[in-house]
Symmetry: C2
Subunit: 409 residues, 2 copies
């Protein structure tokens, strides 16, 4: 017999690149009682969640559901199910998560072709089309928002290019969905994946996905029902997906009318995902994106008001995160630690070439709020000064307040 | 703007083969606020959870952690990371989940050899050793508790056999862990996986795993750090794991002292997994197993007291689930539906050769309780009678009460 105290996390205002503080109603939803896997309430909640995410993605795709795992589970499910070993995948890389898509495609035994631009830039559509013509890929895998650089890759011209060249178009919108425009159908996406832990304001652990009819056909052509529940008439394709967990064909059969047993849906995460969509749609999708735009603009004005230099092509920045150069002479990690220890505020470090060079500050989901932005800037001013930077008194908060005032006018 | 009501599940007593009703404290833990991925509180909670699961598994394995996904995510991670394409895997099959292990190994491009026994039996150790000698597999993949048949495969002799023949020994204990004996070290396991949604009394969506040093060495020999976070000195093995999400080498680097970024740990599910272990260890592991043994024995006596015939080799039944033959003339699915509609109690249907032939009734986790057993038997008596079966009045509850009384004596 031993006593283990209940989990009791410290007060945190999560203003990094994600995960961020969840909406309170999302946390409450997760403490709802469980029901059985095929309880009519459960299957209805699954179907309702599919409907809600069709509205989040702006799609009429029948195949819109959740993959049970973190956002990279959705990425791997999409790539592994859409690409056969040996097929070509084109990955434009403009930050860490482009490398991740390429990595996942390599592990799926695809022939991966990368095109790269400098971190802090997005990839011009012309450069993507040129590479498509050269590489003739089966799939274009393109990150929308890459938190490693804060860039928001324009997608609106890409679907038409892919369609013209007979290429499947997949985008990972983990970092961007809900805080920036995303139009799955209007932009011609064949597949898109996300996570809850950024602008959707939930915990990591469930990955929304949507698939076009074209993508669904590819997946269906590789269909295989697993041994143990296979019935007469179920055949197995020779080029079946080399994963059971990520075989989207079987996951579709579980979410669809056949309700064929696959995994046991993660009930509490389903409740969370449903509530994330509910918060977004109840406030209004466009209003939530506008709230992210305003909070992001205020944070951008605020860090500039504190005299900080912003990294990257600001015209293509995501609404929900900004990268700022750590001022000369300021010790980056100890200063971040002081934000956490003295104010309970988390801001983010960076990966790869930006590590030690920039901090990343997020304004997303529940924390795309005026008080969260102003509190962060007030604390950052104090910390910067105590770490030896020369900072305009009140410069951050004043600039942010002006931005919020203009947005409200 | 639209109104979407908060999730509001109906009252359910989940007495099927799982998922089952979660412990209330596990539900509460999931509504705790989130913290950042590298917050000292988060990394400490991850390390603490590893310690707790070492005690749950009865192991000193350093590599004891969670895979973010449902229980089959843990299975796929174990098999995919331990077995190279073309290597031989031996899978003894005594129910649906043996077929699942074989299926997952086939998808991982292993050469899979099955040995099968009739559903309702377990596999004799001699038969396993004979097949090991014949097949010379790299890995033996053996389910401990298969809910499809309720059987609890004895594992205590198998580790020694595997060691003697140089075979890695992996077992999936999803259905059994926490409600039946499991001794990872004493039984010589190299890998074991589970889920929260059975005897551990939590929601589906997190898969505890433990790996011996021998298993860890195999995984390390296939190491590859993903592009985008790779550093000088990180090499990539030629036979790297053909999945990013399930590459246990990278997941170990994330849970271990290097804290190398992989997925973003599913914070709320971590809280849930931690609390599941906490409930078990606070009550006492042996006491919880004894509670499952008593509740299971009472349910067994109760269904027999109602005149029902029990399926399978009862001497090898798991503590936490019993399969009963549906009496002649009783419509199985409508009767189950009446249990749900009239009493809010869920009992389970069956898969494959048992579908339409048996119901499966669970007593696990929070619901391995006297009142849950007696209430289920009282309701089942009513339903059986209304569906035309001849049932001894009070026969189920009386027999179960006797069993509880004897256990308490």
């Amino acid at each position: 017999m031993s006593h283990i105290a209940p989990i009791d996390p410290p007060a945190r205002l999560l203003m990094g690149p994600g995960p961020i503080s969840a909406y309170p109603s999302v946390l409450r939803a997760m403490s709802s009682p469980l029901v059985g896997q095929y309880d009519p309430f459960m299957t209805a909640a699954m179907s309702e969640t599919q409907d809600l995410y069709r509205r989040v993605w702006s799609t009429r795709n029948e195949q819109t559901f959740l993959v049970d795992g973190t956002s990279r589970a959705g990425i791997e499910a999409a790539i592994t199910s859409l690409v056969r070993p040996g097929e070509r995948v084109l990955v434009p890389v403009f930050g860490r998560f482009g490398h991740l898509l390429a990595e996942i495609a390599e592990r799926a035994m695809a022939e991966v072709h990368r095109i790269e631009v400098e971190w802090g830039q997005v990839v011009p559509a012309s450069k993507i089309e040129e590479a498509i013509v050269r590489v003739k890929p089966t799939l274009l895998a393109l990150v929308q928002g890459d938190t490693s650089t804060t860039m928001n890759q324009p997608l609106d011209d890409i679907g038409e290019i892919c369609r013209r060249h007979g290429v499947l178009f997949y985008s990972d919108a983990t970092a961007s969905l809900g805080g920036n425009a995303f139009e799955a159908d209007a932009w011609g996406l064949d597949a898109a994946t996300a996570g809850l832990q950024k602008c959707l304001g939930g915990p990591s652990g469930s990955s929304p996905i949507t698939l076009s009819e074209r993508a669904t056909e590819v997946i269906r052509s590789r269909g295989r029902v697993e041994a143990g529940i296979r019935e007469a008439g179920d055949t197995s394709a020779a080029d079946f997906v080399r994963s059971n967990y990520f075989d989207l064909g079987m996951i579709m059969d579980y979410w669809g009318p056949r309700r064929l047993n696959h995994h046991t849906e993660a009930t509490s995460m389903l409740y969370a995902a449903r509530e994330c969509a509910s918060v977004l749609l109840t406030e209004g999708r466009e209003k939530v994106i506008a709230r992210h735009a305003t909070a992001g603009a205020a944070m951008l004005a605020g860090v500039r008001g504190l005299g900080l230099t912003v990294f990257g092509d600001v015209a293509h920045k995501m609404n929900n995160v900004v990268a700022v150069e750590i001022p000369d002479g300021v010790a980056g990690d100890p200063a971040r630690q002081a934000m956490l220890d003295d104010f309970g505020i988390e801001i983010g470090t960076s990966f790869g070439p930006l590590h030690g060079r920039v901090w990343r500050i997020g304004t997303m989901g529940y924390n795309a709020r005026r008080d969260a932005v102003l509190t962060t800037l007030a604390a950052l001013e104090q910390v910067l000064r105590r770490f030896g930077a020369s900072v305009p008194t009140g410069g951050g908060v004043d600039a942010a307040i002006d931005t919020f005032r203009e947005a409200a006018a």
